[in-house]
Symmetry: C2
Subunit: 668 residues, 2 copies
C-alpha cells in the first residue's frame, strides 16, 4: 500500500522501522507459502459480493443479526468449499482459518463455528471407521450441519455429573435419550439453537440396568427437509451474551427420544446388539481432542492480542493530546512512557504466546506420534502443561486486550473500535474448554506429584526438572540476564509448590482429610501453577527467540530479542515480591530491572508501528475505526456513526410520542 491518504504520523513511524516487515509477517504465518495461502483465502472471501454489511451488525436486532450471520456464513462456506475442492485440501476449512476470516465478515462468531471446530473433529476422533465413512463426507460437504452438546444447565466442569441419559433398549436395538431434570438440559453449544440439524450428544450410558458413564452419541435433532425439531426434541436459543452474539448458542432436551444403536460413537467403547458393554482400551485416548483445543486457544490468544495491539498502537501514533511543553505541539500519545508501558507488553505477549503455542503444538504432535507406538507416559505432563497454558494465556489475553482498549480512552469504548468485540471473544476463552481455576488446579495435582517425586529422587520429566535443582540448592544464583530471570521464575515456582505441598500436610495434620486439606491450600496451589506457567512461558519464549536468531536477519533477531527481554523484565517487575521471597534477587537488582525496562521501552518505540504492521491484519478483518492502516481515525469514527439508523432522521419518533406530551403536560 502506498502512502497516499495515509496519516502523516503513521508515514513517519513506518520510515523509522529498523527491520523488514515482510520477514516478520512470514515468520508469524509460519513461512512465505503460509502467508500466500492465508492471503489467497482472505482475498477470496472478502471479494464476495454483498458479504460486507452496509448497516453495521450492531444496529440490528438480535434476531436480524443471527439471520444475517447465517446469510454471510453460507456465502463464505460456498466459496471456501470450492477453493478446498480445487486444491483438494480442506485447509481453508481449518478452524483457525475459519475463526480468523470470519472476523472480517461477521465480526463475531459464526453459528457454524462448532460444526468445523467440534462436530467434525469428534467424528474424526471417536467414530468407528464405518461410522466415519458414512458421516464424515456428509459433514464436510455440509449436507448435515452439526454441533457438540456436552455442557448442561447444571453441569459444566464436572463431566461425570452430566444428567442426560442414553438407555439401551435391546428389543429395538435403540438408545432412548432423556433429560430427566431442568438442570440436565444441554446449554451453550454454538449453532445448536436454530442452525444445526445434528449434534454429538454426551450422555450417561445405561445398558443392562447399569450406568457406564458418559459417552458420545451422534444424534439428528431436526428434520433435514423442514428443519422442524423432531418429536421428543426440545431445542432453542439461550439468549444474548457478552460476546458470541451470532454464535446461536442453544439448549436441548430429550423426552424418550430414540436413536439407532450405531449412533453411539464406537471407536473406543461399544455396546453390542444384545446390550453388552465393551470397554475402551485406553481412556487416555480421548485426552487428544481436549489438548488440541487448548493448544488452539493459546494460538488464538496470540492472534487476538495482535489485533488489539494493532488498533491501540496505530491509534496512539495518530492521537495527540496534552501539552507538557508550552512551546511545543501536543505530542503523539505513544510518546508518553505510561502508554508504551501499556502497549509494548501487548506486542511482546502476542509473540510469547505464538511461540509457546507452536512449541506446545510440536510437543503435542510428538506425544501423539508416540501414542501411536503405545507410549502413554508423556500424557500427564502434556496435560499439565496444556491446562495451565490454556488458563494463563486466556486470562492474560483478556487483561491485555482490555488494557489496549482502555489505552484508547473513550474511543476504545466505541464498538466501532472493535476492541469491545475482541474482548468478548477473548474473555470467553477464560471459561470455556476448562474454567481457569479448574485448569490451574489440574496442573497443581501434577506439580504436587512431581514435588513428591523430586523429594524421593525419582527421575523427573523435563518441564519440572527444575524442582530437583531447587531441592539440591544447585540453582544458578540470580543475575540480571534472561537466563538469570528464567532460573528465578523456576525458583519461585519450586518454592510455591513446596509451600502449597506443606500447607496440605499441615491441614492434614490438623485433622482434615486429603481433599479438605487440598481445598484449604487451593489458593496457594493456584498460585503455584501460575508460577510454573510463567517459568515455562519465559523459558520457551527466550529459548525459541535465541534459537531462531541464526536463521533470520540480524535486524529482526535484534527486535525479537528486545521483545523477549521486555517480556521477561516486565514479569520480573510484576512478580518482584515473589522473586524477593523465593529467588536470590536483591532490591538493587529490582531497581536495575526497572531501569532496564525503561530502556527497552525506548528501544522498541521506533519499531512500534512496524511491529503491529507485521501482524498483517487486513483492515476488513481488523474492523476498526481506530486501527486501520491509513490512520484516518476521526474520519472513520464519523463515517461509522453516520451509518446509525438513528441518524437517518433528524427527529426520532420518541420525541413526539413521549417527550413532547410530557413537556406539554408540565406546562399546565
Amino acid at each position: 500500500m502506498g502512502d497516499k491518504g495515509v496519516n502523516p504520523d503513521l508515514v513517519k513511524e513506518r520510515q523509522k522501522c529498523t527491520f523488514n516487515i515482510q520477514e516478520l509477517v512470514h515468520l508469524i504465518d509460519g513461512g512465505e507459502q503460509a502467508t500466500r495461502d492465508r492471503k489467497e483465502v482472505e482475498e477470496l472471501v472478502l471479494a464476495i459480493k454483498d458479504i460486507r454489511d452496509k448497516v453495521p451488525e450492531e444496529y440490528l436486532s438480535h434476531k436480524e443479526r443471527y439471520e444475517n450471520a447465517v446469510r454471510k456464513t453460507v456465502m463464505m462456506v460456498e466459496v471456501l468449499k470450492d477453493h478446498a475442492l480445487k486444491h483438494s485440501s480442506f485447509d481453508a476449512y481449518k478452524p483457525s482459518n475459519m475463526y480468523r476470516i470470519q472476523s472480517g465478515i461477521i465480526k463475531d462468531i459464526s453459528p457454524f463455528m462448532l460444526h468445523m471446530g467440534m462436530f467434525v473433529p469428534t467424528i474424526f476422533g471417536q467414530a468407528s471407521p464405518e461410522q466415519m465413512s458414512e458421516w464424515l463426507p456428509k459433514a464436510l460437504s455440509l449436507q448435515i450441519v452439526g454441533t457438540y452438546a456436552q455442557t448442561e444447565l447444571g453441569h459444566g466442569t464436572f463431566l461425570r455429573g452430566l444428567e442426560t441419559t442414553a438407555t439401551y433398549d435391546p428389543n429395538t436395538e435403540e438408545f432412548v435419550l432423556n433429560s430427566p431434570t431442568i438442570t440436565s438440559y444441554k446449554w451453550w453449544p454454538g449453532g445448536l439453537a436454530h442452525t444445526a440439524n445434528h449434534c454429538i450428544v454426551v450422555a450417561q450410558l445405561y445398558t443392562k440396568g447399569q450406568c457406564y458413564g458418559v459417552h458420545p452419541f451422534f444424534v439428528q435433532i431436526r428434520d433435514l427437509d423442514t428443519h422442524m425439531p423432531l418429536p421428543g426434541v426440545k431445542v432453542g436459543e439461550i439468549g444474548p451474551k457478552l460476546g458470541f452474539q451470532t454464535a446461536n448458542n442453544g439448549f436441548l432436551g430429550f423426552q424418550n427420544f430414540r436413536i439407532p444403536r450405531n449412533c453411539m460413537l464406537m471407536k473406543n467403547s461399544q455396546v453390542l446388539k444384545d446390550g453388552t458393554y465393551v470397554k475402551s482400551k485406553s481412556e487416555k485416548l480421548t485426552y487428544g481432542t481436549m489438548v488440541l483445543i487448548r493448544v488452539m486457544i493459546v494460538a488464538d490468544a496470540a492472534y487476538e492480542i495482535g489485533r488489539a495491539a494493532t488498533i491501540a498502537v496505530r491509534y496512539s501514533a495518530v492521537r495527540h493530546q496534552s501539552k507538557p511543553k508550552a512551546d511545543q505541539p501536543e505530542p503523539q500519545i505513544i510518546d508518553y512512557v505510561t502508554q508504551q508501558h501499556k502497549l509494548f507488553i501487548a506486542i511482546a505477549t502476542s509473540h510469547a504466546f505464538r511461540t509457546t503455542g507452536t512449541w506446545l503444538w510440536d510437543t503435542y504432535s510428538k506425544v501423539v506420534a508416540d501414542l501411536g507406538k503405545g507410549k502413554l507416559d508423556q500424557l500427564p505432563e502434556l496435560h499439565a502443561i496444556a491446562c495451565c497454558l490454556k488458563a494463563v494465556c486466556s486470562r492474560d489475553a483478556s487483561s491485555i486486550v482490555e488494557q489496549c482498549r482502555l489505552a484508547c480512552g473513550g474511543h476504545g469504548f466505541m464498538l466501532s473500535s472493535n476492541l469491545p468485540t475482541i474482548y468478548g471473544l477473548v474473555t470467553a476463552t477464560v471459561t470455556y474448554e476448562g474454567e481457569f481455576t479448574v485448569m490451574m488446579l489440574q496442573t497443581a495435582r501434577y506439580l504436587v506429584k512431581a514435588w513428591k517425586q523430586a523429594v524421593d529422587g525419582t527421575a523427573m520429566t523435563p518441564t519440572v526438572a527444575y524442582l530437583v535443582n531447587y531441592i539440591n540448592n544447585t540453582n544458578r544464583k540470580w543475575d540480571n540476564t534472561p537466563e538469570g530471570i528464567i532460573t528465578g521464575f523456576q525458583a519461585v515456582a519450586a518454592g510455591k509448590i513446596k509451600e502449597a505441598y506443606e500447607s496440605i500436610q499441615r491441614h492434614q495434620k490438623a485433622g482434615n482429610d486429603y481433599e479438605d486439606a487440598w481445598n484449604l491450600a487451593s489458593v496457594q496451589l493456584v498460585n503455584a501453577s501460575e508460577a510454573h506457567c510463567r517459568a515455562i512461558l519465559c523459558n520457551v519464549f527466550w529459548t525459541e527467540v535465541q534459537r531462531l536468531s541464526s536463521s533470520i536477519s540480524a535486524p529482526l533477531a535484534q527486535v525479537l530479542r528486545q521483545l523477549a527481554e521486555l517480556y521477561l523484565t516486565y514479569w520480573t517487575l510484576e512478580k518482584r515480591g515473589d522473586l524477593l521471597v523465593y529467588s536470590s534477587i536483591s532490591k538493587n537488582d529490582v531497581a536495575w530491572q526497572q531501569q532496564r525496562y525503561e530502556q527497552l521501552l525506548a528501544l522498541i518505540r521506533p519499531n512500534a508501528v512496524g511491529l503491529v504492521d507485521s501482524f498483517d491484519v487486513r483492515d476488513e478483518i481488523l474492523n476498526s475505526t481506530l486501527g486501520a492502516y491509513d490512520g484516518r481515525v476521526y474520519e472513520r469514527l464519523f463515517e461509522e456513526a453516520m451509518k446509525s439508523p438513528l441518524n437517518a432522521e433528524p427527529v426520532n419518533s420518541s420525541f413526539h410520542k413521549y417527550i413532547k406530551p410530557f413537556v406539554e403536560k408540565s406546562k399546565l
Copy 2:
C-alpha cells in the same frame, strides 16, 4: 420475604447469619429514614404500569432500544416529579437515586442522565443569579432538556486544547459558535444525539480579537416544538458502545451559530456588552463540580460491586459442582476456598469504597464550607485525593466485577446474569471524568511537591504527613496488626514517591528538561500514586470501622472488622513485593498473613449470603437470573431464554432462505 419457593441452600445460608441484616442495611443507606426513602421511591417507580419490559431490551435493535428507554424514562420522571413536588424536595431527582433506580427499568443508562447529572449542576454552579432564576425552573420541570458538551472528537483530557470557538460580536451582542475542524466536533455527551434540546457548550472564548480560553455557554440546539436541529447545528449519535447502550451519546457541530451574549454562564467570568472580558476572581471555584462527580464515582463503584457480589455470592450458594469426595454430594461452589478468595474481597471492597466515599464527601463538604470563608488552601490536597481515589476505585471496581462474573462460569457470560451490563457501566468510569493514568499523574504532581516539602521540613497536610515519619525513620516497625499494615502501606507509598522523585532528578541530570524527566519517570509516578491511594483506602476503612464499633451492635461490629481485616490482609498479600522492599515486613510475616487470610475467609463464610442480602438490592434492580433473592437460578435462566424472539418460531427463516438452497446445491 418468606422462605416459600426459596432455594433450600439459600434458606440454610440465611439461618447461619450471625448479625442483624436490617441493621447493616440502614448503615449502608445512611440511617433508617434513608432506607425508607429509598424504598419508597423504588416502590413508586417499579409500580408504574408497563414500566417493565415484556421482551428484554437486549433483543431489540439499537434504535428500538433508544425509543423504549425514552418511553420508560419519561414515565419514571413523571412519577418522580410528582413525588418531589409532594415532598417539596428534589431528592428523588438526585443523580445517585436516578442512577440506581434506572437499573430497575432500563438496565443501563437513561438518555436523560446528564440532564440531572451535569446540565442542572452546571447551571447551579456557574450561572449568574439572574440566569439561574430563568433557566433552573425550566430545567427542573423538564420544559427544557439539556446535557453537557465538553469533550470533542480530538480532545478529551486536555481541556485547553478544545477547538470549538465562541467569538463575540459586539454589533449584535451575540456569540458566534463554530466547529472549525472535524476534531472540534463535540463527541460523547449523553442524551445529546436525539434527546436534548439544550446543552452547555464549552468553547474557546474570543472577544476583541483575543482568546480567553474555554468557557461554558448555554445553547439551544433544537426547536422546542418540532425538535428539529436549529439551522447551523449539526447533531446526531456516535453509535453503539461496550455499555451505555441507551445513553444516546451524541456529536455536535456549529457553523456560524449565533447565541445572545447572556447565554455565556456568567457567575465567574463575564463578557460585557462592548466585548470587554472580565476575569473570574478565582479559577479554583470550578474545582468543586469536578470533585463532586469524582466523589460520586467512588460511591457508585461501591454500589456496583455490591450488585455484582450479590449475584455471584447467591449463585455460588445455589450452584453445586464436582465431587471431591466420592461418597458425598457435589458441594456448593461457595465452599471452594478459591471461590471465597474471588468473592469475599468483593464484599469487603464494596464496604471499603462506601466508607471512603462517605469520608471523601465529608472532607469535600468541609473544604467547600471553608471556601465560602475564603480559605482555599485545602483545595490542592482534596484534588489530589479525589483524583487517585477516582482512578483506583474505578479500576478496582472493574476488575472485581469481572472477577465476580468469571466466578459464575459460563452463566456469568449471559446478559441475563446482568454481570456484563454492570461491567459496561463500571469500566466506563475508568475513562470518563478523568482518565485513569491522567488522574494518577495529577496526584503524583501533588505527591512530588509534598515530598520536597517533607524534605525541607515544611508543615505537611494530613494525608501526606506519613512522609515525614519515613524521612525521620520514626515509622512504627512492621507488626501483624491492621495498624501495622497501614504503616507498612504508608512506607511503601513514601518509598515509591522518593524513588520516583529521584528518578526525575536522575533524568534531569542526564540532560532532560523537567517535563521529559517527568515522562521518563511516569511509570514509577503512577505506581507511587497507587501506593498512596492504597494507604488511604486501608487507613480510612480500618479507622472508620473502629470508630463505628461503639455505635453498632457487637455482632455487626465483629463482621465489619473481619471485612476490614480481610481487605488489609488481601492487599498485604497482593503487594507483598512492595512491602518486602519498602517496609520491615519479613518473609515469616508474609506466611503469617497468608494463614490469617485463610482464617478470615473461613470466618466470613457463614455470613456471606447475609452480607450480600444487606446490600438490599431489589430483584428488579438486580435484574439477574443468577442473583435473585429466591435463588431459582436454573428456572430463571430458562424463563429468560424463552423470551427470545428467535424462540417464538421453531424454524428460523434463514434455514429456507440460505441453508437449504446451499445444501440442495451441494447435493447436485
